[in-house]
C-alpha cells in the first residue's frame, strides 16, 4: 500500500521536490512509541537509539498526553503501540488502571529508589521514571525590564498587584504537568489556602492557555511576561536563545517523567531495549542536550552537566521538595481539573475584574488606612476565595465519582451529573466574584 502511495505522491511532485527516500529495510523490526515530547527531544533519542540498534526501526508518534491516552484506549483491541512516553505520572496511572500497561524490571542499577520523596519507578513496575521534572516560574527579561517589573522569587510573588495582567498558565485539564503544579500547591498549602492562593495568582493572569506549550511560547515571544511551567520548558527556551530566566520556587514538587510498555506490545523485546537504553549512562547523558535539558535520574550524570545546571540530588530548594501524594491526586484528578476550569479558566473575566478592584482598593488603603474600608476589602477577598465544596467533600470517593463516572457494571450506580454540579458551582462563583468586585469598589469609594 505504502509503495503505491509513495509512487503516486512522487509522480505528483517529482518536478518540485527531491525523491522521497524509500529505504528497503530488511530484517528490521519496528518499534512504535506514542509520546507527548517535542521533536527536539525525540529526534536526539531516535538517532542515538537507531545507531546503537540498527536492527530496530523506531517510529515516533506525537500526540498530546490526553490524545495519546485516548488513542491507546481506542486502539487497544488490536494494539500497535509498544511504548507510551510522557511526563505526567497521573497519565500512566490512568493507563495502568485500565490494564493497558505491562510490568517490566529494568537492568540499570545506578538509579536510586527515590528522587526527593517520590519513588522514581512505579512501585508495582508498570512504568519507569527516566528524568525528573520540577515546576517553577519562567519570565522574559526584556518584558520585565520594559514594564519595570521585579523578578519573582516564589509562588507568593505572583499574587502581588505588580504582576496584574502579566502572568500565564495552562489549564490543568489540558496539561498533565500543569495539573501536577496545581495539585502541588493544593497539597503544600492545604485545600482552602491552596485554592485561595491559586485564585489570587490567577486573578493576575493574562491568559489560561490551551496547550501547555502555550505558556513558554507566550513568554518567549513576550506576549505575556511570566509563566508557570515545568522546568525543561524554561531551560530549553533558554537553550534556544530566548531572553528568559527560570526558577524553582520553594514548595515545588519533583516528579519523574515516565515511560511504560503497552499491554500486548507487538515488539516487547524492542520496547525493553529502548527503556534500558533510556536508563543507561548514554541515554541519561543525552538528557543534558541544550535543546532537551531534562534532569537525569542517575545522580552520576550530573558530573557532566553544564555549570549552573540544577541537581535535584544536591540542591537544597529541590531536595526539600514536598512529599507528593500521588494517590490523593489520582482520586480527585478530574474533580480538581473541573473546579479549576469552572472557577478560573471559564470565569477569567469575572475573576480578573474582582482581583483588579481588590488590588486598587488595597493600594489606596496602604496610603490612607481606613478600618471600615479594610473590613469591606477583607470581605471581598473572602468571597473570591470561597469554595463551592469542602475538602472533605472533594476527597469523598462517592462525590469525586461524579467526575469519573464510568459504568463498568450494570449495578454500578453514580449519583449526580457532572454538568449539573458544575452549573451550580458556576453560579456560586460568579455571584461571589461580582459581589466581591462591588465590595472592593465600595471600599475604594470610601477613601
Amino acid at each position: 500500500m505504502k509503495s503505491k502511495k509513495n509512487l503516486f505522491a512522487v509522480s505528483l511532485l517529482s518536478a518540485s521536490i527531491g525523491l522521497a527516500s524509500m529505504p528497503a529495510m530488511a530484517n528490521q523490526s519496528k518499534l512504535t512509541i506514542v509520546t507527548s515530547f517535542p521533536q527536539d527531544l525525540t529526534q536526539v533519542f531516535e538517532d542515538a537509539f537507531e545507531k546503537a540498534n540498527p536492527d530496530i526501526d523506531l517510529e515516533v508518534l506525537k500526540k498530546k498526553t490526553s490524545s495519546g491516552i485516548k488513542y491507546i484506549k481506542e486502539t487497544a483491541s488490536k494494539n500497535q503501540t509498544d511504548l507510551f512516553w510522557a511526563s505526567a505520572p497521573d497519565a500512566f496511572e490512568v493507563l495502568k488502571d485500565s490494564s493497558l500497561l505491562q510490568q517490566y524490571e529494568v537492568k540499570a542499577s545506578s538509579i536510586p529508589e527515590k528522587i526527593g520523596s517520590f519513588p522514581i519507578h512505579d512501585p508495582e513496575g508498570f512504568y519507569k521514571g527516566f528524568a525528573a521534572a520540577g515546576y517553577g516560574i519562567m519570565w522574559n527579561t526584556r518584558y520585565l525590564k520594559a514594564k519595570k517589573l521585579p523578578a519573582p522569587t516564589g509562588w507568593d510573588d505572583l499574587k502581588k498587584p505588580t504582576y496584574f495582567g502579566h502572568v500565564g498558565m495552562s489549564a490543568p485539564s489540558r496539561s498533565g504537568t500543569t495539573h501536577l503544579t496545581v495539585e502541588t500547591i493544593l497539597q503544600a498549602e492545604g485545600w482552602d489556602n491552596g485554592w485561595a492562593m491559586l485564585k489570587q495568582m490567577s486573578g493576575n493572569f493574562k491568559s489560561v492557555t490551551e496547550r501547555s506549550f502555550g505558556v513558554p511560547d507566550g513568554v518567549n515571544s513576550g506576549n505575556f511576561g511570566l509563566g508557570i511551567v515545568i522546568d525543561f520548558f524554561g531551560l530549553s527556551s533558554q537553550g534556544a536563545g530566548f531572553p528568559v530566566e527560570f526558577i524553582y520556587p520553594q514548595g515545588t514538587a519533583l516528579v519523574p517523567a515516565n515511560i511504560g510498555i503497552i499491554s500486548n506490545a507487538p515488539n516487547r523485546a524492542g520496547a525493553e531495549r529502548f527503556i534500558d537504553f533510556l536508563l543507561s549512562d548514554q541515554g541519561q547523558e543525552l538528557l543534558l542536550d541544550p535543546k532537551i535539558r531534562r534532569l537525569p535520574v542517575n545522580p552520576e550524570i550530573y558530573a557532566k552537566a553544564p555549570q549552573g545546571f540544577p541537581n535535584p540530588f544536591k540542591d537544597d530548594a529541590l531536595k526539600s521538595a514536598l512529599h507528593f501524594d500521588l494517590n490523593l491526586s489520582k482520586n480527585r484528578y478530574n474533580l480538581v481539573n473541573s473546579m479549576f476550569d469552572v472557577m478560573i479558566t471559564y470565569r477569567m473575566d469575572d475573576l480578573r475584574a474582582a482581583t483588579g478592584a481588590i488590588h486598587e482598593a488595597e493600594t489606596a488603603l496602604a496610603e490612607k488606612p481606613d478600618a471600615e474600608a479594610q473590613a469591606l476589602l477583607e470581605q471581598a477577598k473572602a468571597l473570591v476565595a470561597k469554595l463551592p465544596i469542602s475538602e472533605a467533600e472533594a476527597n469523598d470517593p462517592d462525590f469525586a465519582a461524579v467526575f469519573t463516572q464510568k459504568r463498568k457494571k450494570a449495578s454500578d450506580n453514580v449519583n449526580g451529573r457532572q454538568a449539573e454540579v458544575e452549573a451550580q458551582w458556576d453560579s456560586f462563583v460568579v455571584a461571589n466574584y461580582q459581589q466581591a468586585q462591588s465590595l472592593a469598589e465600595k471600599a475604594l469609594s470610601m477613601l
Partner: protein, 575 residues
Amino acid sequence: MASTTGTRKGTLRLDFSSIQWGPTSAAAAIGIFLLFVLVLPVAKVIFVAFQDPSSGAFTLNNFVDFFNASLFRESFVNSFYVSAMSVVFATMIALPLAYFTTRFNFAGSTLIQTLGMIPLIMPPFVGAVAMQLFFGDNGSINLMLDEHFGFTIPFMQGLNGVILVQSVHFFPFILINLSASLQNIDRSMEEAALNLGSSGMRLFRRIVLPLGMPGYIAGASLVFLKVFDDLGTPLLLNVNNMLAPQAYLRISSVGISDPVGYVISVILVLFSLFSMWVSFLAMKGKDYSTVQKGGGGLLKRDLNTLEKTGCYLVIGLILIFVLAPHLALFLLSISTVWSFSPLPDGYTLEHYSTVFTNAHTFITNTLLYAGLAGLIDVVLGTAIAYIVWRTGIWGRKALDFIAMGALAIPGVVLGIGYLRMFYDIEMPFSDVPLATWWGIMVIALAVRRLPYALRACVAALQQVALSLEEAAESLGASKFTTVRRIVVPLMMGGILAGFVTSFATAAVELSATIMLVAKEDDAPLAYGIYVFMQSAAGRGPGAALGIIAVLIVGAGTYLSHLIIERTKRAHGLKK
C-alpha cells in the same frame, strides 16, 4: 424544481417513467457512502449525548443540563455574535476585492485572486501565533505605538480578537464564491440595464448584486458556519466561552466521560443545519440563472489613471492587512530569536535547511491527501448539487443536509468516530487496521471539506438555466450527456472554486487527522508544523514549514485560476 423529463416507457401501469434511474442510483450510492463515513461514525459518538451516564439508559437530562448552565447559554450567544460579526467584516474585506477584480480591466486580477486565497491556507494555530506577533498586545505594532506615542490598541483581546482573526482567515470563502458568481453573470443583462439608462450604484444594486447573490450567500453561510464551529482560533487566543471550544475541551480531556461535550456537538450540528435551512429558504423561489452564456462575467471596464490608483490603493491596503500574518510567519521563519521586539534580533536560513532535511514526506503526503480529498469533494459536490436542485428524488434534501452537516462535526469527533468504527476492520491484503490506513485520512479530509465544494457547486448550478438542459434533452441528448456536455462545463468555474477551497483547507487541517495518524511516514504537513511548534527551538522550523505549505497551496491555487481563465477563453472561442 425540475419537471420530470424521463423518456423511458414504464413497463408497469405504475408511473415508473418518472423515476430517473441514473440520478437515483447515484443518489443511493452517495447516500450509502455518507452513511458509512459520516453518519454512523458520528452517530456512534453522538449516541453518548442521549445516554444517562449512570445507567446507560436513554435520557434528555444532558440537554436539560446544557440549557440550565449559564456558561453554556453565554457560550451560545458568544458563538452566534462572533460568527455574525465575522461575516460582516469578511464581507467588507471580500466585496471590494471580488468586485474590482471582476468588474474592471487591470493588471494582476489573477494574482490578486490568488493572494486573496492565501489567508485560508494557514493552520489556525499558526494563524493565531502569527497574528499575535504583529497585532498582539505586545506585538510589533503595539510595541512601536507604545514607544513612539505611548498608547496601544487591543486588537486581539477577547471576542474581538476572535472576530479579527476569523474574518481575515475565512473571507476567501466569500471572495472565491462571489467572484465565481460574478464571473458567471451574463453581461447582456448589464448591457440591457445600461441601455435603459441605469448606471453606477443603481446598476450595482439592481443587477450585479442580485445576480451575484447565490455566490455571496454560499460564501457568507460558509463563513458563518465555519466560525461557529471553529476551534483553533478561539483556543489559541485562549477564549473559552464559545460553544466549539467548550465541546472540544470537554470531549478531549482525559477520563472525563461527561456527556455534555457530546451534547454541545449535537447542538452545533443542529444549529448548523438550521442555518443552512434558512439560507436554503432565502434562495428558494428565486431564479438567478441566465439563459445565455455570453463572454462570461461582468462587462469589464477600463479605468482612468485616477480610478486605477484608487483601486490599487484599496486593494493594496486590504492585501497588506490580510497578508500580515504571512509576513509575520515569514519573518519568524528566517529569524534567530524574536522576543518582545518589533523585529527579530537576527536572520538565518537554517530553519529551512532543517525542514528540507527531515520534513519532505509531510509535504508529499499533504499534496496527495488534499488533492485526492478535493477531487472526491467536487465529484460528490457536483452530483449532490445536481440531485438536489435538478431532480425530484425522494430524500434529496436530506442528502444535502447530511453533506452540509459535516461542517458542524468537530474534527476530533470524526476522528474518534472513525477509530471506533474502522479500527477492528482489517485493511484488505495487509494487517493494518482500516482506521490507521492513510486512505482513511483522505476520507476524513474529504468529508470535512465536502460542504465547501457542495456550496460552490450549488451556487454554480443555480446560475445554469434549466431551459439549457431542457433544450439539450429535447434534441435527444440523454440525461448523462446533458450533464456531461452542458451542465458540468457551465459549472466549471464553481467546481474549480470548490476544488481550490477544499484542497487549500484540507492541506492545513489538523483536528481530524491528528487522531488518525498512526505512523509518522503517513503524517500530513499540519501535523508536522504542530510537532515543530511544540518546542522552543522548533518555532523557526515550524514557521518555515508553514511558509512552504503556503507556497505550495498558493501555487496550486494560482494554477487552477489559470485553468479557469483558460477554459473560459476556450468556451468563448467556441461560440
